[in-house]
Amino acid sequence: MNYEEILISIAEKNKNVIIITAENRAAIRNLPSKLQNQFVDVGISEQTMIGMAAGLALRGRIPVVHALSTFLTMRAFEFIRTDAGIGNLPVKLIGAVAGFLSEANGPTHQAIEDISLMRGIPPMQVFAPSDEDDLVIMLPEIINSPNPSYVRYTNLKADVEHNKDFKIGKAEAIAEGEDITILTYGTLFKEALAAAEILRSKDKSVGIINLRSLKPIDHETIENICTKSNLIVTLEDHFITGGFFSILSELLVLKRINSRVFPIALNNKWFKPALLQDVLEYEGFTGEAIAEKIIKHEQEKHIATEYFY
């Protein structure tokens, strides 16, 4: 099943589900004809889209709002925070082309602070599936939950078979590793797999966690890994501030866990606009580049001071 098919299936089973978009139809072209009255396009009007979603939710609907992540989470931020957030309404935000997926669009389209913004809203849940299969596994549970939610949409094809059992607040442990564990989400999951292969060829024991649920975070799994693995790598296509590195740092401080953490994230700048593979290469986020950074870190006991500006 793909994204459109799971949405159709969910909407057919639950007539309260209604899909809304701000004319971002690329990933949902078949929904208008299939879902008829359960599909609404408000045009390029993100604030009105969120306000209307809140109104629909007041009437018992579950609005699934599909729009480009930057404009959804930033143009309409105060509507999300004030209407869906304060109202604690089950508005489900699906943000497209977040992180590196905006490719050559340029900084206007780069949602690399989306997670930081969304997790700052008290009742908001935040999810980041690693690929379309993962998204399809996660969506039913997210749509059924009573909370407002933000999902970083992805249409990347899966390289692995994911655990079909998804629970809100649970990560997917792909592999365990004593030397190094890479904790990641979304687009960079694939690169983490590639980096792990390289590191394993150098006799390292490498674990990988597909985080899936960033808020609530799977603190049990993470706590366990941070006490067992010698080096924790946080890997994300997000600004260093406010994303998973921040979430982990907060968790470790609160739990008084003294782990060695090496963050790989975007350092206070927008990334070079280009096609995805070229972005990964230019910005140093390919599996190879990641493995190289980790090895360098291990050898030099490098502390990532470049993130302190």
Partner: protein, 285 residues
């Protein structure tokens, strides 16, 4: 609408609502000017136009009312108290931490459909409610009160386009045209006239009425048609209406009067004898 109240009854209720509002303008104060400008509108809508009352507040078929300019909520609390939706006793909890009655609406107060305070939100929220009623072939009306100053917000015009595009003719926006935004007359700062032509150009039916004349309100609201277009009623009002000493004064937006002044203002409400107000004006809120 069954059992419409007479003009005299409405005027009596409105007088009581104004007393409630004035009593909230002390011990911390409230946005008295805007509350007094929309008081008659709210009394009319809840008494003679909307199908919503204390016994159907959660009914799926009720009419919906949203106060987008949330700072005039004392007028709504007062109306609810007079119509039995909210216990009068609770008005004494204004600004107290033991209740939810503060400067902007909270859904924990009976009758409040949704919170507001941030301007420019509830037109689109009303649009969502109206859309759902339409999709379910229900004939509930959805009424939202906007401020004229609030029409500075781009989201009002964005939502106006979308609501017209989706042919939500079950939605009625009422503009409390009291000619002021916080500190300044609307036409001095960001002129919004011709307001009627703007809404017409956006695809709305446009009506206007005197927002203090119950006969005129009744005539106007009764004439609203559902022709595939949303409707807007531009209600001409006076900020501070009912208290000559603060009427249409730019500096009497948010007021926090002394207890003695409150007594005098209630007297002024009934006698129209101007109070000599010494309390601070232009309070920062």
């Amino acid at each position: 609408m069954k059992n419409k109240k007479s003009k005299q009854e409405l005027e009596n209720i409105a007088l009581n609502v104004r007393e409630h509002i004035i009593k909230m303008a002390t011990d911390g104060g409230c946005f008295i000017g805007a509350s007094l400008s929309c008081a008659d509108l709210l009394v009319y809508l809840y008494s003679n136009f909307l199908n919503v009352n204390k016994s159907n507040l959660k009914d799926n078929n009720r009419d919906y009312f949203f106060l987008s300019k949330g700072h005039d909520v004392p007028a709504l609390y007062g109306t609810f108290a007079e119509l039995g939706i909210l216990e009068k006793e609770r008005l004494k909890n204004h600004l107290k931490t033991n209740d939810f009655i503060y400067w902007h609406p909270n859904v924990k107060v009976p009758g409040i459909e949704f919170h507001s305070g941030s301007l420019g939100h509830l037109l689109s929220v009303s649009g969502g409610v109206a859309l759902d009623c339409k999709l379910k072939n229900q004939d509930n009306k959805v009424v939202v009160v906007l401020g004229d100053g609030e029409c500075n917000e781009g989201s009002i015009w964005e939502a106006s386009l979308v609501i017209a595009a989706h042919k939500l003719d079950n939605l009625i926006a009422v503009i409390d045209r009291n000619h002021f935004q916080a500190n300044i007359q609307t036409e001095e700062l960001i002129p919004i006239e011709p307001l009627d032509e703007k809404f017409k150009a956006f695809g709305w039916n446009v009506y206007s009425c005197n927002g203090h004349d119950f006969d005129d309100m009744d005539k106007t609201f009764s004439s609203i048609i559902q022709n595939g277009k949303p409707s807007v009623v531009i209600a001409d009002t006076v900020r501070g209406r009912g208290l000559p000493s603060i009427e249409a004064r730019a500096d009497r937006w948010f007021c926090n009067f002394t207890h003695k002044e409150i007594e005098q203002l209630i007297n002024e409400l009934h006698t129209k004898e101007k109070t000599n107000l010494e309390s601070e004006t232009l309070i920062v809120r």
